[in-house]
């Protein structure tokens, strides 16, 4: 690296640059900071020097008192001289055309930066809302479940004395809760050990108070709490009876659903004769003789006075369930025939919007009495010989129909099996790669076919 200061005077910076070796930065810095180096001056062709028209006092140079250039800049900012600079509007037309003099006191204003910093509240607002929703749902779940349990205990306290008087087993053995909790809104109580009754099932379907969505739906369309009392009667002690009692609308629906009503209870009988008020209830039965012996004045009176609780009554010794229950695609076994008394009740509520309360549940005691009275009436029922003969024929026909159904289902199942077998054999044959094996399989099939057809041929000859 060669640098000769004497050269700079005549030829100016350009010659110095020629000898300068670019790679060596440190030496250059050293060279500049020695202070020997004169300010670069423009030199005309004939060697006269031209002083640059720069007011050096305005521009801060790096080597003032040997300090680093940047520091001096900062200090000068505070220098009062700078404060008088006017803010320059660059786009202004006058500014461009004028001789662009710097104003002596620049006004540098530092404005606050508006960088959008998102607070944690904004960032996690969605999550918080979702979490609040979950807490509200769980709170509603706990409150609704507690209310449901209070209603069940209220019903049990009102009915327990009567049940213990009539049944030797109330609730499932060794279960102090007595009730079997099927779901948060379905409770079952089983009672057994009584004359004329194998057992009695109380199923209480409460309104879904624990589910927030159902609560919202209930505001629009309220659903009452339902109690279904099902008494299982012993077959040998029960006379031939198929009988249904309900309002018109409900009865027509029942006549379409229940298979035993469809087959046996073809005749509709208005119930005015049995002490019911005009046209409120309608019954369908197999023999009218049975109705008059079952529906006594006492029973009719209970039903009339608690008409808002009563929904439907179904007594049958040929009960096999509804059509939906016996859908052949869903249920393969044939339904068993049982003797049952099914009493469907609604728990009345003072105001539909609020729904029923524990006090309303306690008022259902007379309906339990009604169920027990019906058991005794059915047990004492004795038909005359003619009606008995007639009902006997009906049952024989009904049994035939059930057997036919059984056979067709069995044949369909066997047919399905055969088809699956044939399909599996065919698939195996198609996938077989070894030609010899494939031939053997084909021969086997042909022999089977021959056997089937061959046997028939022999029969023809013997004739």
């Amino acid at each position: 690296f060669q640098l000769t200061s004497s050269d700079t005077g005549k030829r100016g910076q350009r010659r110095v640059v020629e000898n300068f070796d670019q790679d060596d930065d440190d030496d250059l810095d050293q060279y500049y900071s020695d202070g020997e180096f004169d300010l670069p001056r423009d030199v005309t062709d004939n060697g006269d020097e031209i002083d640059a028209d720069i007011d050096t006092s305005e521009v801060a140079w790096n080597d003032v008192d040997g300090e680093d250039r940047e520091d001096s800049d900062d200090e000068d900012f505070d220098n009062p001289e700078y404060s008088s600079f006017d803010e320059v509007d660059i786009e202004n037309e006058e500014y461009r055309s004028s001789d662009r003099k710097f104003s002596p006191d620049p006004q540098m204003t530092i404005t606050e930066s508006k960088v959008p910093v998102r607070s944690t509240l904004d960032a996690y607002l969605g999550e918080m809302l979702m979490a609040v929703g979950i807490c509200v749902y769980l709170l509603c779940f706990l409150i609704g479940r507690a209310r449901g349990e209070r209603m069940i205990t209220a019903w049990f306290e009102a009915n327990s004395d009567l049940l213990y008087e009539n049944f030797s087993l109330v609730g499932v053995k060794d279960n102090e809760h007595k009730f079997l909790k099927e779901r948060e809104d379905i409770y079952r109580l089983w009672c057994s050990g009584r004359v004329g009754c194998d057992g009695m099932m109380f199923e209480i379907n409460l309104d879904k108070r624990h589910d927030l969505i159902s609560r919202m739906v209930a505001i629009i369309k309220s659903v009452p709490d339902k109690i279904t009392i099902t008494a299982m009667l012993p077959k040998e002690e029960t006379e031939h009876i198929v009988f249904a009692l309900s309002t018109k609308k409900q009865l027509s629906r029942m006549l379409k659903e229940y298979e035993d009503l469809i087959f046996f209870a073809s005749t509709k009988v208005p119930c005015d004769r049995f002490g019911f008020s005009q046209g409120v209830l309608v019954s369908a039965c197999e023999s009218q003789e049975a109705i008059s012996s079952i529906i006594s004045t006492q029973i009719a009176k209970i039903i009339e006075t608690h008409f808002d609780c009563f929904e439907s009554l179904h007594i049958s010794d040929q009960y096999i369930g509804t059509k939906a229950d016996n859908d052949p695609e869903v249920v393969t076994e044939t339904p068993s025939v049982t003797c049952r008394i099914i009493l469907k009740l609604n728990v009345p509520a003072k105001r539909k919007s609020i729904g029923s309360r524990s006090a309303d549940m306690a008022k259902m005691l007379p309906m339990t009495h009604l169920a027990l009275m019906l058991i005794d009436r059915v047990r004492k029922l004795k038909l005359s010989k003619e009606t008995h003969m007639k009902t006997q024929k009906n049952r024989a026909k009904f049994q035939e129909g059930q057997d036919k159904k059984k056979n067709t289902q069995r044949m369909e199942a066997a047919q399905k099996k055969k088809e699956e077998k044939a399909k599996a054999a065919h698939d195996a044959l198609m996938q077989e790669t070894d030609p010899n094996k494939a031939k053997k399989m084909e021969e086997k099939d042909r022999k089977k076919q021959m056997k089937k057809t061959g046997v028939q041929a022999k029969i023809v000859k013997v004739k």
């Binding site: 087993l169 079997l180 050990g193 004329g196």
Partner: protein, 82 residues
């Protein structure tokens, strides 16, 4: 109103224990639909990485769990929670 016969109607020797009466098949209930939706939302949430779909799946599973029957096997609910 007395629903009983004069003498004691109870017959301890005729007691029958409760054998879960084979309930007729209920068909597709609203609870089944909820569990199916929970499954779909959870898979979609994972694939598309959309936060709010995952929250919907959490809601479906919670509502299904609160309305499920006690006799239902816990496996289905456990697999849904997973």
């Amino acid at each position: 109103m007395d629903g009983t016969i004069g003498s004691d109607p109870r017959r301890p020797q005729k007691v029958k224990t409760y054998d879960f009466v084979k309930d007729p098949p209920e068909g597709i209930t609203s609870n089944d639909i909820l569990s199916f939706m929970g499954l779909i939302f959870s898979v979609l949430g994972l694939l598309l990485k959309i936060k709010y779909i995952c929250w919907l799946a959490v809601y479906c599973v919670m509502i299904h769990f609160c309305n499920s029957s006690y006799r239902e096997e816990g496996k289905q609910t456990f697999s849904l929670v997973m």
